[in-house]
Amino acid sequence: VLKKLLYLAAGQGTTRITELASELGVSTVLVQEMLEDLMRQDYIVAVVPACLIPCERCPLSTACLFRNQPRIWALTQKGEQFLAISLKKK
């Protein structure tokens, strides 16, 4: 199921958790747990939209248009490599 999650995430550009949950036939809560797990395994990484520093230390935070951020994860190099190898095997 984790591999399928990675394939789904890689195949559609940006994927919402609700879409993943629906595709995998599990709840969104479980998908969140899986994402935490994949993050611990270094397959994905949480990214802060467009920012490298946390909002608390950002001089533009008070005037920022994007405070109520969605949580976003991106594939790491390890994740990309895994998918590349998997696709090659297929």
Binding site: K3, M34, C51, A63, F66, R71
Partner: protein
């Protein structure tokens, strides 16, 4: 004294306790904040002993209780999410189970978040100890509409499941009784354990065979093999020391070859959790659609979502025109003009140049910009409302889809979206893009996102020239920017840069009622930052523009600024612009708002009682105005943006390339719009 303790220690005394020969050791496990301590305190009361785990700084709590003449020693284990030895708490818990071999583990789970809790149970079940599951906070789960069928869960898991509301001391006695029963009859414990998904089951068996007789007690080779495949550092170190070099090399080779086995192991657990939850949890909202899901059907739809996004922009402009523009106009005509009159009459004794500087240079320039405040307030309030309700996150998602549809770099949308506030953070935000080419493309595209300063110019000028059509014109000009961004993006992506793929997973925030305090804070911060800009850079540019337009003589048409502007009129004429509009455009390079300040100075000296709006409407044709607005929206970015662009690219070549590209695009679009209007005979003369 708790009911549980009263029940469990009925008829017992200290002397009775000493008489019991057999003591059942119970480990109390669970995630943090699931009510473990409440249960521990309820059952052990005053018999607690608090110390530290050997060699650790983590507190170890133990307590005694008697249930039906059987003595139980309860050990409160540290709260852990898993048993992967990532933290001291996790190591303590699994070492306790492996080395101290409790008779039974009571795992407490939060019933309202069962899926989050079952992963720990999945890991406990591969350890050599029987487990009882206590489902705490059943009241919270019920209140959230989550209905758990404990008997079904018990049958599915193959272990005792007891429901609890520990805070009200409900079910605690039953939990202790179940633990005591299971400890006395562990042979009947046959739980349904998670299975490893996929082909790695065979690899696990191979490693188990290689481990063979080398695994010392209390470890078991199947558990050690599993942990090795999971990449557990502690167990890997131990296994390396247990195995002869040759065997370890074989194991290490298998582990290297099957690095992704951890995914199959974890997948097995998640599939097991999903099965258990499907079997025993009835979620009333399952099948129904929550408010967020219902709204998201439209908000993130590839077509309707994009349409909604454009409609939202239209709504923001409509609100601005309806609420703020009349106030801005009133401020311009009745406050700034009157202040100018008052100041002029108060400065009759002062040198004429000083009076003119203050009246027309400062008040005519900065003053007109300050009248923006109502527009700013409405504009930012509308944006903050959209943001605070959670809509802007959807807008970002829709934009991302749109960009993917156009074949652009997916990661670009994150920083580009920030560009609607200001292009500077948008360019700086491109740092999140790993690839050099993707990052550069995003930096080059960022100035095409209409920033709030340019949107304000739109909000101010479109009603002046287009009256009731202002909303459509503004909407059209924002769409034009996005269209140009898309075309430039596609062109650069397919020519200069290689298209790259980027995958994202996004969790949308739930829709919620906006927080007025946070919106007020956001609006005020933006207004304050704008006023500071008005008092510094805009004031400075206003003074320079005034000076250049007043020297060497009193006739503005003979001024240095006019001469400079007139030298560019051959280009301006193609767009129907006179030298004033060209100079206003150029002054926007310092800061976009300067365009308005400059127009205020150069057109402001019109007839008495007429604001900038009426004066401009009288002398500038709608076709010229449309061309001017289109060029302003697409023009080279402000100096701060260019500086950041250079800082981020570290290349004058790319910076100048982008500035030139934007200049060419802006002028070309300006000429096309004006000439098309001229050709069609639409609005080519002033009102």
């Amino acid at each position: 004294v708790s009911d549980a303790k009263q029940n469990s220690s009925k008829g017992s005394s200290a002397t009775d306790l000493e008489r019991h020969e057999q003591t059942i050791v119970v480990g109390l496990a669970g995630q943090p904040n699931v009510g473990k301590s409440t249960i521990f305190n309820l059952t052990t009361g005053l018999s607690q002993h608090v110390g530290n785990w050997p060699g650790k700084t983590v507190e170890r709590k133990e307590g005694m209780l008697v249930h039906q003449d059987i003595k139980l020693r309860l050990v409160d284990l540290p709260g852990t999410y898993s048993l992967t030895a990532n933290s001291e708490e996790e190591r303590i818990t699994r070492d306790f189970i492996l080395h101290e071999r409790p008779d039974v583990i009571v795992m407490i789970a939060d019933a309202s978040a069962l899926e989050r809790n079952l992963y720990l149970l999945a890991e406990l079940l591969v350890l050599p100890v029987p487990v009882v599951l206590g489902l705490n906070m059943m009241d919270v789960a019920e209140a959230q509409g989550i209905h758990i069928e404990p008997h079904v869960l018990e049958a599915a898991l193959g272990l005792p499941v007891i429901t609890l509301v520990a805070a009200r001391n409900q079910g605690v006695s039953e939990l202790i009784a179940a633990a005591e029963r299971l400890a006395r009859e562990p042979a009947g414990f046959k739980p349904t354990r998670p299975k490893i998904a996929g082909p790695h089951r065979e690899v696990l068996a191979q490693i188990r065979t290689l481990l063979g007789q080398y695994v010392p007690a209390p470890y078991r080779e199947d558990w050690v093999a599993l942990k090795l495949l999971e990449g557990d550092m502690e167990i890997t170190e131990k296994a390396r020391s247990w195995l002869p070099d040759a065997d370890w090399s074989s194991v290490a080779a298998l582990l290297k070859e099957h690095e992704d086995a951890v995914l199959d192991i974890a997948s097995g657990r998640y599939e097991w959790i999903a099965r258990m939850v499907r079997a025993a949890v009835i979620h009333p909202r399952l099948g129904q659609i929550s408010v967020t899901d219902r709204l998201d059907r439209f908000a993130v739809h590839p077509f309707w979502g994009l349409l909604l996004l454009l409609a939202m922009f239209g709504l923001v402009f409509w609100l601005t025109f309806t609420v703020a523009t009349p106030i801005q106009h009133w401020l311009d005509v009745y406050v700034i003009e009157r202040l100018q009159g008052l100041l002029a009459s108060g400065l009759t004794e002062a040198p004429s140049w000083l009076a003119d500087l203050l009246v027309n240079g400062v008040l005519g320039g900065v003053g007109i910009v300050v009248t923006f405040v109502p527009i700013l307030a409405v504009f930012f309030t509308a944006l903050a409302l959209l943001e605070d309700t959670g809509y802007l996150a959807r807008a970002a998602y829709v934009m991302d889809r749109f960009m993917h549809f156009l074949g652009l770099h997916g990661k670009s949308f994150l920083p580009l979206f920030l560009g609607f506030g200001c292009n500077v953070p948008a360019i700086m935000g491109a740092r999140v893009i790993g690839s050099q080419s993707g990052r550069l493309l995003t930096i080059l595209l960022a100035p095409l996102v209409p920033c709030s300063a340019r949107l304000l110019i739109l909000a101010l000028l479109t009603p002046v020239f287009f009256g009731n059509q202002a909303l459509m014109v503004s909407w059209g000009l924002v769409s034009l920017n996005i269209l140009v961004l898309a075309i430039v993006g596609i062109t650069l992506n397919h020519t200069v840069f290689r298209g790259q793929h980027a995958a994202f997973i996004m969790e949308m925030p739930l829709y919620h009622l906006p927080n007025l305090r946070s919106i007020g804070h956001f609006v005020w911060n933006n207004i304050w930052s704008f006023l500071r800009k008005a008092g510094t850079i805009i004031l400075l540019v206003s003074v320079v523009v005034w000076a250049l337009s007043n020297f060497p003589g009193s006739d503005i048409e003979q001024s240095y600024l006019a001469r400079f502007g007139q030298s560019l009129t051959p280009i301006g004429q193609l767009m129907g612009m006179d030298w004033r509009l060209i100079v206003a455009l150029l002054s926007s390079f310092i800061a976009k708002e300067n365009a308005i300040a400059t127009l205020g100075i150069l057109y402001g000296a019109g007839e008495e009682g007429r604001g900038l709006a009426e004066t401009m409407a009288a002398v500038v044709s709608p076709a010229t105005a449309l061309s001017f607005l289109a060029v302003t929206m697409l023009f080279i970015p402000c100096a701060a943006t260019v500086a950041v662009m250079y800082k981020e690219t570290r290349s004058w070549r790319w910076t100048l390339f982008d500035v030139t590209l934007l200049l060419v695009i802006a002028l070309t679009v300006g000429v096309i719009i004006y000439q098309a209007a001229h050709w069609l005979g639409i609005g080519v003369s002033g009102a």
